[in-house]
Symmetry: C2
Subunit: 246 residues, 2 copies
DNA sequence: ATGCCTTTGTGAATACGCGCACAAAGTGAC
DNA sequence: GTCACTTTGTGCGCGTATTCACAAAGGCAT
């Protein structure tokens, strides 16, 4: 962390911990749910339960935005929705392009959670000639050649990459060169980008693998029958595959 | 403490940090990539670069699995692939059911990353009569009424929930009652489950919101024109919306 | 106004994760 | 065998995150 960021840390609005930022959207969702049900105020205990976190953590998170609660009462739902939205930058629209219109790209194009949070999809792009021209979620798929035009023309600042793994880095380089400074990557590769560009990754199979790890643990862990034979074999022992399958 | 004692403690003691577990799939992917290119050994520096992490962190992560490297040489790719796979529980098959066959469910059903890692999809289920019976990714969509049959019949241990938000908790309760102990949730709700059941969440719009936060920061942060008027207004000030739009 | 009750905001303690830097361990040349 | 070189495995310090626990603050009844 730079000294500059450090200096601003005490003041609400800057220096919000990354862990807190990651939870704000969860709080926001819980709050909009309460709002729709006509709830006017909520205590940290109730909101924390709805968001699935510890109430002290919730209060500390919110305290980073400022003192928006009333002791003895709780938080005003509508006001908190506004403050969190503002902090997250959702009081303005963000223009998004989706590159790669396979199964996942289609799902993303039709995903309601984007539009409802101020994310406007400016274009769907693909390299496959048989997909270009198709109408998906009310939009016509455009050829990847038009990438730079669309980014510049619509002021796209966030690119969603849903291409095959092999194409992702190339696409990423192009969108960054065209001025995009935030990338949401669904392709199973590690993207490298210059400083100043943010990348977030969503990998469906990684989440499943983490679940498998814990699932295995519940069932007795990896040190079962197999590892007695193979687990402590020294590096260079080539027969481990056969051993575990024997 | 000797390295050997240390290894026994970690391997026997389930001491693998959650942060490490979350990175193992990334290492595994990088390693299989190297394997396909015929690379036999790799140094922590090279592998770390491929995985996008610090090399010391990589070495520490791998040390939790045991001492599988050779000083002065590096790690044997094939052996490491096997050890990580074993630790993650990927040397056995996991049976998965996908509930909710909307856009996202379809994308998941066709996602290659599942099958290639030992995750077998035993069924696609939906409540919508017009979807039931459709053929998707080589499977016939079944009615949600058959949920319990399918879970018991195929030994499903992991459920993937891709339903609308409103249906997710109900589906979750049913799959848990039917014996599922791991849930991957794509619905934008916080699921509550009994102890012993793991839930992981993937939320597409949360990732975008986090990007928006950083994007806004690059552009000057939320403390711009608006917040000078409204940002520090006390709770109870009702005119904040008008203020920010004025 | 006073006192009781509720709930926030936060200091303090603890746990966790990260990365530097280096000793230990292994390889290969001669 | 010995020496130079490479790379692992990890001790250590530092910063961040989480949780507890409580004083301070506000509401409300009387």
């Amino acid at each position: 962390m730079t000294p500059r960021q450090n200096r601003q840390r005490d003041r609400a609005g800057r220096g919000i911990p990354e862990a807190t930022v990651a939870r704000l959207p969860v709080y926001l969702r819980a709050l909009t749910g309460l709002q729709e049900r006509g709830v006017a105020t909520v205590s940290s205990e109730e909101l924390a339960a709805a968001a699935g976190v510890n109430s002290a953590k919730l209060r500390k998170d919110l305290s980073h935005l400022g003192s928006y609660g009333t002791r003895g009462v709780g938080y005003e739902v509508e006001y908190l929705v506004y403050q969190i939205s503002r902090e997250l930058g959702l009081t303005q629209d963000w223009v998004v392009a989706i590159i790669g219109v396979g199964n996942l790209g289609r799902a993303l194009a039709g995903y309601g959670g984007f539009a409802s949070r101020g994310f406007r999809v400016a274009g769907l792009l693909d390299a496959d000639e048989s997909i270009v021209g198709q109408e998906i979620a009310g939009m016509t798929v455009q050829h990847i050649d038009r990438l730079e035009d669309i980014i510049a023309g619509h002021g796209v600042s966030i690119a969603v990459i849903a291409t095959p793994a092999g194409a992702a880095q190339g696409v990423c380089d192009r969108v960054v060169a065209a001025g995009v400074t935030s990338v949401l990557n669904f392709a199973p590769v590690v993207l490298s980008v210059p400083d100043g560009v943010d990348v977030r990754k969503v990998d469906l199979s990684i989440e499943l693998q983490i679940l498998a790890f814990h699932e295995q643990r519940k069932a007795g862990g990896p040190d079962g029958l197999a590892s007695l034979a193979a687990g402590d074999a020294p590096p260079g022992a080539k027969q481990y595959v056969e051993t575990v399958e024997a």
